[in-house]
């Protein structure tokens, strides 16, 4: 196991039972340790962890707005640098805050090269405001602003490739991780905070409420995403993919069927055409990151 004993994200928060982002917060802060300043964005995590006068955070924590965590972190970093202090600055922000509204500030932070680790907890929609689509929402997911209907099969666009965008900014370290693989996530967090310059980690954080599954299954859902190839855990160093988690891939069906957000693809009848498109996304990921475990040739 990982060996860390101390908790910096307390048990007394108000997240849904089985919340992926809450688990991510715990693992990230555990890995980052006590010499860390956390900068947050508005969203589910901010709301469930800091209802005044309570706070779940045992590291210094600051939140200002939905879209400016990266800019606030830039200032925090500049300030502690000027004061000759040694804390690490870690942003923990939602996918909406990262993919959509905050991208201007993030681009600025990465281009300026601040020594900040930016971690996006990716629950693939705006959960705090009631499950609306974001640029991280997967193709065909049913959300309140990309509802499946008579003329719609849900979200029309594939996930925006933020890791590639930030790698293109010259980030020395970009990685994806999943709460379903805690040791891997923690290892990556440590690597990022110990790498000088702006690093990015995108953590897959299943959201039982927004995706529609039983909160006891968060880890299973996370693993299914990886096994399907719809989520790939990889690392990029100086813009080059250096590692990707290999899997013996399974068809996307099991993952899709496990969540209400894809239920419309199976009702009233199975929508083979759309499911095939989602399978193609997974196949494309597998090819791009080379994640398929090839069975040894029997002959």
């Amino acid at each position: 196991m990982t060996g860390e004993e101390k908790e910096y994200f307390d048990a007394g928060h108000r997240a849904c039972g089985g919340c992926g982002p809450a688990l991510a917060a715990r693992l990230i802060t555990k890995a980052a340790g006590e010499n860390t300043i956390v900068v947050a964005s508005t969203g589910c995590m901010e709301v469930f962890s800091t209802p005044y006068p309570e706070t779940a955070w045992k590291t210094p924590w600051v939140h200002s707005l939905f879209q400016n965590a990266a800019a606030v972190a830039s200032g925090v970093e500049a300030s502690i640098k000027k004061q000759g202090r040694s804390e690490k600055v870690v942003v923990i922000a939602g996918d909406g805050a990262t993919f959509d509204i905050g991208i201007l500030c993030i681009s600025g932070l990465f281009e300026r090269g601040h020594d900040v680790t930016y971690i996006c907890y990716d629950n693939e929609a705006y959960m705090n405001t009631g499950i609306q689509r974001s640029g991280a929402t997967p193709y065909d997911a049913d959300t309140t602003t990309s509802p499946a209907g008579k003329l719609s099969t849900g979200n029309k666009r594939p996930k925006k490739d933020i890791p590639a965008i930030l790698a293109a900014h010259g980030s020395p370290y970009v990685a994806t991780a999943s709460v379903a693989y805690p040791a891997d996530l923690m290892k990556k967090v440590k690597k990022a905070i110990n790498t000088e310059g702006p690093c990015y980690i995108q953590v897959h954080t299943p959201c039982c409420t927004g995706w529609g599954f039983d909160g006891a299954k968060t880890m299973d859902i996370g693993k299914m995403a990886i096994n399907s190839g719809l989520w790939v855990n990889f690392e990029m160093e100086d813009g080059v993919v250096t590692k990707a988690k290999k899997v013996k891939r399974e068809p996307v069906d099991a993952y899709l069927k496990s969540q209400k957000r894809f239920r419309h693809l199976y009702r009233p009848a199975e929508n083979t055409e759309e499911i095939a498109k989602i399978q193609a996304i997974a196949d494309n990921n597998a090819e791009k990151y080379g994640i398929d475990i090839k069975m040894p040739d029997k002959n």
Partner: protein, 386 residues
Amino acid sequence: MLQIMEGSHAVAEAVRLSRPEVVSAYPITPQTHIVERLAEMVADGDLDAEYICVESEFSALSSCLGAACAGSRVYSATTSQGLAFMAEVVFNVAGMRQPVVMTIANRALGAPLNIWNDHQDSLFLRDSGWMQMYAEDAQESMDLHFLAYKAAENYDVLLPAMVCFDGFILTHTYEPVDIPTQEEVDSFLPAFKPYQRLDAKDPISFGMYATPDYYQEFRYEIHAAMIKAKKVLREVGQEFSETFGRDYSELVEGYRLDDADVAIVAIGSICGTIKDAVDEMREAGRKVGLLKIRSFRPFPYEEVRTALSGVSKVAVLEKNISIGSRMLGAVGLEVKDAVGKQGADVYSYVGGLGGRDIRKRDIQKLADWAEQGRNDCFFGLREELL
């Protein structure tokens, strides 16, 4: 040391002498000369600060907020579209009680796009919880920064401050300025001691969310701090006067007001022109005076009331318009409230928008209009365009 210098450079000098540890700003006309000069100072080692070259005004103020929370004295500057773009953060900085100081090189807001001076930009953020001071000339533009930092960082206040000075009219004009020494400024403005800061040795949470059970008290406390800021501003003004010999002990300044029947009230650089106009009217035997308001937030109601207690008519010159308001402008609304029902008649007159020139004869006209009891007036309108 007396030196002839551009207004923007006087401000940059004031900022340097205030020793901010983090400077973060984005260029916009007519603020640019300030931030360019500060960048030069940092590049030459004359200002020992982190200069964050942000990608937008939104990030400029956000990064100042982060740096302030982490325990640094910070500085930014902007105007008009930049300030509007920051608006969300403007409220947030005040709500989070961070003593950020920001210069506003006042400029009109679009549309239509216009780079010239009026006061719409800062007044639009009147209710954000920032102190707002308005300078008449380059010297005052400089001095107000020292007062702003000192008042903002006072633990009874802990509110951010905007130092407003008129775009082009002051930013791009050369005037003699008396620059204090670093020792003088240091003795007036000691190093920043944050009330609380982000610190791994003593972790606390900043900027949490508050339910209806708590939110209202936060807003009340900001309001109460702004009221207290009046006293603090007078005290630091008094202390400034003793150190530097320039009198800022009051938040208003009367000019030939003692025996006046008509008072013209204004903020900013136009007060200079008004003083000349008042002199001319006095020579012609008219009992006219000026009341210059230096601090718009906190608003010095008592001082305004006292200063205007002897006059019967008040003409407020507004370089802003509160669209659809009966009083037309933000300044007149406050003055009318300060004077009260038993006091003088208060009229507010809008002009000088988007840089339209205001001349001495315009000011005479305002005095005439107030004497005649005319209300709801724009001056300097080109009727042929309407």
